[in-house]
Symmetry: C2
Subunit: 676 residues, 2 copies
């Protein structure tokens, strides 16, 4: 069993997605080299390498500040009216407009001594989490593939007077004899179809069977089709998020995703967050309304992914759904009213298999909807799905699982124990409560660097267009970079002495100008304010202290964490080193941090592929000990201690501490201070 | 285990319904005494005792022939215009109008020597089968009561911050701890109700749980109600007959029937028998129509029995239904078209539990409909239910089970083996194909005796009114009596030599006049014809030869039968001795014949009371070997040999043989022969 568990975890964890990086880029005079994929933007490569290039306009090419010289190799583009013929002939290009198409050597022009100071910046290179995906072949090789739904081809004998047993008995007998399937149950809709279907192609049929989760359970015959359709067997995995709903159509023969589609959760019209939706659900007809609109949206996604993959709807054999506790209850039309009232009690932890059509889903009568279990009102099926999909519940290693989205949830534990908590992190990571905060869409500054001497920014936006605002990952990068450079202190306050027009006070509030109005898409200066920084600190403080509190409750400390799994759209963009600088993540080897993307969808998918997960999930959901942080005595102390960059106890972040000490020893960046 | 089986059978078989017979009636000059219940009709008592009293008018009092003298004791009534004052003062009464209210001595006046001849008639006394019913207390005492649905009272703790697990988890936890219920599953409609219901009466609730049939199965929580409702837990048992539908409301705490209701199956409008209904079901929309009307009728019965018993519909926890294969498929909307086509294949043997509401039944969402399994196209769930309800499948004794209705089915076997067959008996037992045949309703001659000298009849009708026709039991009694008296021969032909105006030839067909027109309700002579007798002989021959064939197939003979179980409305009225005389039943000790009434309903009821039956039924249905008599070589020989009264081989009926020989030795009743 131990071997099985180990193998299972290996099967889950071994398949990282690797991008193929083909070109070498050497940055001079920094002498930093990185590899990038073909066609990568040069300014993004510089950011990745930790090379600062002034750039205010987000990468649209209008500020003209990101001039570099291509000393060797070739780039595509990079030429604009900001460069004259002479510049171009000398090899000058705009980094933001250049696509790397060969190995290159790039020189970042150093036009002053102050500029040269950036060479001494010991900035952390951009570091994203490793991406993990499920690999069905691995599961199969390890013998852990217990398909929840299978198709079996049956060549039945024709009834004669001497053997005229009932049609269904004939089917069941064949499955018993040829596929060793016992304890079979056949459902009424299948019985209704059986007599005509088995006679349609001369008693040759395909039976779809749902295998039991436990060996002692019943195998259910859920569908029957004329002829041999064993090649077409599909499932749907779906994540019902507060903001977005994602669906995937999965080929159960190969495990591959044939199509996927995401859409906003239309319940948004009735309330942005879970609490306002619960309030709406309590109004007369409110629950039905919220249930109906989410089912409509689910149906839209089902229709799209079926159409896009061009499969027969009758070949869809199962659907698995995961969502937070409130989304789950609204989808199932279970009134969530006690979720928002102390002591915050959800209706149920586990849900039985439910006929999808009974929920209003546009799926055949034979399709059963499996809904991920919840742990508590604020640790829902989406988190349980992530725990299952990530395989953390099978590992010896103590893992910190963080899902950062509209709400933030953390799970800590290993194969022996699991503790979890929801953090009232606030919406800062999604741009909420930030003056120019926005979701991670086109125009959001997502990456940032700063020249510690000139305080000129390097803004990179999603879509490489002039900036419209700041998204969560950009915010983290800004605050982390400014803190490490000494531009803000550990309380998140700007150094007012710095000699720049970018740091200013407006209506008594200090702010840093990321982009002046003419270089934005909103014709206003885009700024980062001290209250913005404070909101971020409170958000990251809630998460970090939540993790600390959980660990303390089980007698461990933050140093015991062996690895981190990040889930949620946010996790794909976060620069791990920066997240450690602000104290959002504990300081561990970045190789020990894995990103799984939409953990909820990943869990829904893996449940579609193997009953092993369906079997284990009941135990895992039971094992996950929920902590209501507001009821946990130590939480408030930990929280207050976390309201610093990175923390009151800098010793928890030894690498950062060493870098800061080195910077101070080297005299810091003192020439940037205003002349008195 | 053997002891369990034995006890179970004893529990099932020990409780016969006994009528309390309080009055002694002595008939003179016959010197025959019987006991009757208070208020019994005197003429019926005479019939019971085998005492012939002339009576043509069925018991309505208009023919005035049934004069008797009450020599001792008292009767109620018996006086009419047919008796003058002197008669009355001498103690004359009309037997058909007299109710027995004390011990009495009755003299039947013998007005001629011919009359006195009846004293020598060795007629068999009227003998009905013992009636068997289910007794829940017996089941409980024997430890065989495994209730399929139970109610449990739960005093839950109120959620607090330190214990805010989900509502349903709280319920499940309580059941685990206090009632040792594990492997629990709770259904979505219950989850939807739970949060509000448990808060309605301060976290005190009653959970309705459906116990698994197999120990390893899931216990399902199917309902939850505020407060303590454990006293109210009911089930419905229903028999879906081709002609009639019967429902019973059963108290699951006591096992008693609180109300019952029967109605015609409205599908009759679309076809009298199963074949014509199958033909109708094949028309466009036909299946839906037949399904809908039977569900409407089921709903009408459900509404009636719920209303009549004055129970809360939400306290109905289960429904069990049994019907023949075609009725079952029509009820479940499973096209029966292959049932009527060679090789006669039904859709299914076993049906899964089905949500009653999904079938259109007016029952709460939590009610599961259990449908009795079929064996073959013509051995349906009604027969399987009878086999289960009668307990014959648990007995060592070789039992012959006969269900005589629109169709006739027989099962032979014991705990080790079971063989069954449907007999194309034709509708004679229900009055079909008989010139004055009718169903057993008011005005049908149901009992009959004849004076072997005068050939005057003693007709007793249902309702004691002037006759309208002949029902099945009356027909058997007539043919048996006339055969034993020598009025008809073993081919069913009348002795044309007899000196009476009651035997006559009309249009070349011989017939016996049961009642002349003025004493009937139809103003026509009611007669029994030779073709009528021939139809009866063919019907009983089919059944008897069916039984013989089954026995031969398993290497046994008719002598191996230890006991007989009669099911079907018909069985309650049949005079066992008479049935043996015509060769419908083999000649065995009448004490070994048990009548269970509606076996289908009995089986549905017992399944509502104990899961033992639900567990066993799968194995029993599988064990029942179906014989298609038309495909069984020996059947035709057996059938032809059975087309005699009682059979070509009179040695199969030794008691009858002895009586006939004794009659002949005594000279028979020769004085009745016409003078040449």
């Amino acid at each position: 069993m131990l071997i099985l568990v180990f193998n299972f975890f290996r099967a889950l964890s071994l398949s990282y997605k690797k991008e193929i990086c083909v070109h070498k880029v050497l940055f001079l005079p920094h002498n930093k080299e990185i590899r990038v994929k073909d066609g990568e933007s040069l300014i993004r490569a510089a950011m990745e390498a930790g090379v600062h290039i002034n750039a205010s306009c987000g990468g649209e090419g209008v500020c003209g500040k990101c001039r570099v010289i291509i000393e060797k190799g070739k780039v595509d583009g990079g030429i604009s009216e900001k460069l004259n013929k002479e510049d171009i002939s000398k090899g000058y290009r705009q980094a933001c407009l250049s696509a790397i198409i060969s190995d290159i050597v790039v020189r970042v022009p150093i036009e002053s001594e102050i500029d040269a100071g950036v060479l001494n910046m010991q900035s952390t290179p951009r570091r994203a989490a490793l991406i993990k995906e499920i690999n069905l072949e691995d599961l199969k090789e390890k013998g852990l593939f217990i398909p929840p739904v299978e198709k079996k081809y049956l060549k039945l004998s024709e009834p004669v007077a001497q053997n005229n047993r009932p049609d269904v008995t004939r089917i069941v007998g064949y499955l018993r004899k040829n596929y060793n399937k016992h304890h079979l149950e056949i459902e009424l809709p299948v019985i209704r179809k059986a007599p005509d279907v088995i006679r349609e192609k001369a008693f040759k049929v395909t039976a779809t069977i749902a295998n039991p989760v436990h060996e002692t359970g019943l195998t259910r015959i859920i569908n029957i089709q004329p002829g041999d359709t064993t090649d077409s067997n599909f499932a749907i995995a779906m994540d019902i998020g507060t903001t977005t709903i994602y669906g995937q159509l999965i080929d159960l023969k190969t495990g591959s995703v044939l199509s996927s589609y995401g859409d906003f959760n239309p319940q948004i019209s009735y309330g942005e967050d879970v609490i306002s939706r619960i309030v709406y659900a309590e109004k007369p007809g409110g629950l039905e309304k919220l249930h109906n609109v989410v089912i409509q949206s689910i149906n839209k996604i089902i229709d799209r992914i079926i159409k896009h993959a061009d499969v027969n709807a009758d070949d869809i054999s199962a659907i698995t759904l995961a969502g937070n506790t409130t989304m789950t209850q609204l989808m199932l039309k279970v009134n969530p009213k006690y979720i928002r009232r102390s002591p915050y009690v959800p209706a149920a932890a586990l849900y039985p298999p439910i006929k999808a059509a009974d929920l209003g889903m546009n799926l055949s009568d034979h399709v059963t909807a499996l809904v991920y279990p919840n742990v508590s009102s604020y640790i829902g099926g989406d988190i349980v799905a992530g725990v299952m999909g990530s395989g953390m519940y099978l590992s010896e290693e103590i893992t910190l699982y963080m899902d950062i989205g509209t709400n933030a949830e953390i799970v800590i534990g290993n194969k022996d124990w699991l503790a979890c908590a929801a953090c009232s992190a606030g919406p800062a990571f999604e741009g909420g409560g930030i003056k120019f905060g926005m979701r991670a869409t086109t125009g959001a500054i997502e990456d940032f660097s700063i020249d510690p001497f000139t305080l000129e920014p390097m803004n990179i936006t999603i879509g490489n267009v002039r900036p419209k605002g700041i998204c969560g990952s950009g915010l983290i990068n800004m605050v982390a970079t400014m803190f490490e450079m000494g531009i803000i202190d550990n309380l998140g306050k700007f150094n007012h002495e710095l000699d720049t027009n970018r740091i200013r006070q407006v209506d008594g509030v200090y702010e840093y100008v990321l982009a002046f109005a003419h270089l934005t898409r909103i014709d206003r200066d885009i700024v980062l304010t001290e209250p913005d920084i404070n909101n971020l600190i409170r958000a990251k403080g809630a998460m970090y202290s939540g993790g600390m509190t959980l660990l303390e409750e089980v007698g461990l400390s933050i140093n015991n964490i062996d690895r981190i799994i990040l889930a949620g759209g946010f996790g794909s963009f976060v620069d791990l080193e920066k997240a450690m600088i602000i104290g959002l993540l504990p300081e561990i080897d970045p190789d020990k941090i894995i990103f799984i993307g939409n953990g909820s969808l990943m869990g829904a998918k893996i449940s579609s592929l193997t009953n092993r997960i369906r079997k284990d999930v009941v135990e895992v959901a039971r094992k996950m000990t929920n902590f209501e942080l507001s009821e946990t005595a130590s939480f408030m102390d930990n929280y207050v201690a976390s309201l610093f960059l990175p923390h009151t106890d800098i010793n928890l972040f030894p690498k950062l501490k060493a870098r800061i000490e080195a910077r101070k020893k080297g005299g810091g960046f003192e020439n940037k201070v205003k002349s008195p």
